[in-house]
């Protein structure tokens, strides 16, 4: 059996929902409470780390392949800049608030484009932190070459799949 015991697996499959929910809360309330895109993104990534520990790498890879994840990472960055550029298009100045009113203070929908920026930063940070932790776990010394060799994410993905098959 891969991963940890049944108890750990059951608990973490319940807890993951709460963690993701908490991450989304931190991202969405970033402009009102402490936290924001970065902190929420870290929480989101940590839910995948929990799954990776409990169920093993293969399970997580099926759920969120690395190629998709690195695309999400880039899309997060592009969207963040796109929001900034919308400020130029509609308001004439970079990062200017546009097409959303500032709204009532301390309401969830307020502060203009800042919550949108928080959401895309959450996406970017979550995706890239997941990628970082996965690569750190997959990076290991290859004794056949007698020195550490870095591999592209796709290669690590393939090798991880192969390792899991062999261990079965």
């Amino acid at each position: 059996m891969k991963g940890m015991s049944v108890i750990v697996k059951t608990i973490s499959s319940w807890v993951k929902v709460l963690i993701i929910l908490f991450g989304i809360y931190i991202v969405l309330f970033g402009h009102l409470t402490p936290g924001g895109g970065f902190a929420g993104g870290v929480v989101l990534a940590s839910s995948y780390v929990l799954l990776m520990l409990a169920f093993g790498r293969e399970f997580v890879l099926k759920n969120l392949p690395l190629s998709l994840d690195s695309k999400l990472d880039c899309v997060g960055g592009i969207l963040f800049i796109a929001i900034a550029i919308l400020g130029v298009v509609f308001g004439g100045v970079f990062f200017k608030n546009c097409f959303i009113e500032y709204g009532q203070k301390f309401n969830l929908i307020s502060a203009g484009t800042i919550p949108l920026s928080n959401i895309v930063i959450g996406l970017k940070v979550g995706a890239s932190l997941y990628l970082v932790i996965f690569l750190l776990s997959a990076f290991r010394r290859d004794d056949s070459d007698e020195q550490s060799v870095f591999r592209s994410p796709e290669e690590i993905h393939d090798r991880a799949m192969k390792d899991e098959k062999e261990s079965n």
Partner: protein, 507 residues
């Protein structure tokens, strides 16, 4: 015009996120896109010569919002970054074919350019730090891009020392914020003018000198550079040595010391001492090297010493209430040497990349006789070596001439002497490269060597032409008034920077 100012940061940043989306099959399209972006930045930076202005992000008023400031010094650095990154990008079209994951390389390259442009444009001290980290972190991974044992080790060493530098800078910024209540350079400068240097601020100044000194690889802090620069791929060595250590180190140091904190005799002597130490120790460490890129890396330290010495000499003359003419001449020498060094050192690193790609080695003892089989590489290496050694009429001669003249004029005869002696030792070590790599017998195992082709040659010839003609920036009055003099004026105005920026905001 000024409303296009954020483009210097936004365009490369956006491209950096778009490029990894290209698959391996489409890497030619990615290369074309990256080149188009770099060329457009080059055009933009030429258009911005001798323009000034402030761009306020999101129209939030200045002490709260973020602003980008373009003045003479910034536009000089932008020019250097754009020209060197153009040549390096052109060179890597062909050179980077030997590595896998070219799209990721291009993406990191763009991040580095975005970070450096951000550093030179940023008008507040914390954004300067953020962009500095963007450029540094991109450069850490680019140094280890080859992923061989040696390269990863160099990258790790660079990362550790770079992070120490960043920690010092962050601590310094926190102290400044605690003592002045502002992160905007204009406001910090005004408050320091009112209250004078408190102890906390003086300590912050020391932290900044160490932090930016580490980034600029001045001598007591130079340990990472001789490992990091040779390990990187050649175009990245050219970028690191050509512009990164200048934008992140020397530019930021000058901006903070001259415009924000104001000059004092002690700080000026510190600059002069760091400069002279770097010049002398760097060049003597370089002369004994047999690894071509390592030799060039040590020369970077030595040449950065010239820049810091020139600027520091200017600062010293101003702080001692000496003649303004000699002070501005010394600063002009330092800044002119900065852009000259950007051009000839990146050319030298590209040349070493061309030699390494053709022969597979960069050990001078294993090379020889390449002059016959690689005539163009040999020619550009001659131009660049003559420039760095200060042989007239190449560009290095003019900047070293101004430095010597200003040192003599201000009465610092020993500085002039040191400058000339270091220049001679530089000449010796570049004669060594000429002798061992390009002259002599062609060894058996190098008979098959062929001249590099295509984009690599164009990039090298482009920089070599710049080397030959850059003396004109000094000699032709209209070019000097538009390119060099505004940058010198920014540093000469000292804390008058605050007023200048404030009037620019109101326009």
């Amino acid at each position: 015009m000024i409303k296009f100012l954020p483009a210097f940061v936004v365009i490369p940043l956006l491209t950096a996120f778009i490029l990894p989306l290209f698959s391996k099959k489409n890497k030619d399209a990615a290369t074309v896109l990256a080149n188009i972006v770099i060329v457009s930045l080059l055009v933009l930076s030429v258009l911005f010569v001798n323009k000034t202005g402030v761009y306020v992000m999101g129209q939030r008023s200045i002490p709260l919002g973020i602003n980008l400031v373009l003045d003479g010094l910034s536009s000089l650095l932008l020019l250097a970054i754009s020209f060197v990154s153009f040549a390096a990008m052109l060179f890597s079209i062909r050179y980077m074919e030997q590595y896998t994951a070219k799209t990721k390389y291009l993406s990191l390259f763009m991040l580095m350019v975005a970070g450096m442009n951000g550093v030179v444009l940023s008008g507040d001290i914390f954004n300067l730090f953020v962009f500095l980290e963007v450029a540094s972190i991109a450069s850490y991974s680019l140094v280890g891009f080859g992923c061989e044992h040696e390269e990863l080790e160099a990258s790790f060493k660079y990362m550790v020392l770079g992070s120490i530098a960043s920690a010092f800078l962050l601590f310094g910024i926190a102290l400044v914020y605690g003592n002045t209540g502002s992160l905007n350079m204009v406001y910090i400068s005004e408050i320091i003018q009112q209250t004078g240097m408190k102890n906390g601020l003086a300590f912050a100044m020391a932290l900044f000198i160490v932090g930016f000194g580490l980034k600029a690889a001045l001598v007591p802090f130079h340990a990472w550079l001789p490992d990091a620069h040779p390990s990187a791929p050649a175009p990245i060595s050219a970028m690191l040595s050509g512009v990164l250590i200048k934008a992140l180190g020397v530019y930021a140091l000058c901006r903070i010391i001259f415009n924000v904190f104001g000059l004092s005799i002690a700080i000026s002597w510190t600059l002069v001492a760091l400069g002279v130490l770097s010049m002398v120790i760097g060049v003597f460490l370089a002369v004994g090297q047999w690894d071509m890129k390592r030799l060039l890396a040590y020369h970077s330290i030595s040449q950065m010493g010239y820049v810091v010495m020139g600027v520091g000499l200017g600062a010293l003359i101003i702080a001692e209430d000496g003649s303004k003419i000699w002070a501005s001449l010394a600063i002009m020498g330092g800044l002119f040497h900065l852009i000259n060094h950007a051009v000839f050192k990146s050319l030298l690193f590209l040349m070493s990349g061309s030699v390494e790609m053709a022969t597979g080695t960069r050990q001078l003892k294993k090379l020889g006789g390449l002059g016959d089989v690689m005539p163009i590489t040999r020619a550009v290496s001659f131009v660049a070596s003559a420039s760095i050694a200060g042989v007239p009429p190449f560009n290095g001669f003019w900047s070293k001439l101004i430095l010597v003249v200003s040192a003599v004029g201000a009465g610092f005869y020993w500085l002039a002497g040191v400058t000339v002696v270091v220049s001679l030792v530089t000449l010796i070590s570049f004669l060594k490269i000429q002798r061992y790599a390009f002259l002599g017998e062609l060894p058996e195992y190098l008979q098959q060597v062929k001249e590099s082709k295509g984009s690599m040659l164009y990039a090298m010839i482009f920089l070599a032409c710049l080397c030959v003609f850059m003396g004109l920036i000094l000699l032709v009055p209209s070019l000097r008034e538009n390119i060099l003099q505004p940058a010198v004026n920014v540093l000469m105005s000292g804390q008058g920077y605050a007023n200048t920026v404030k009037t620019m905001v109101q326009q």
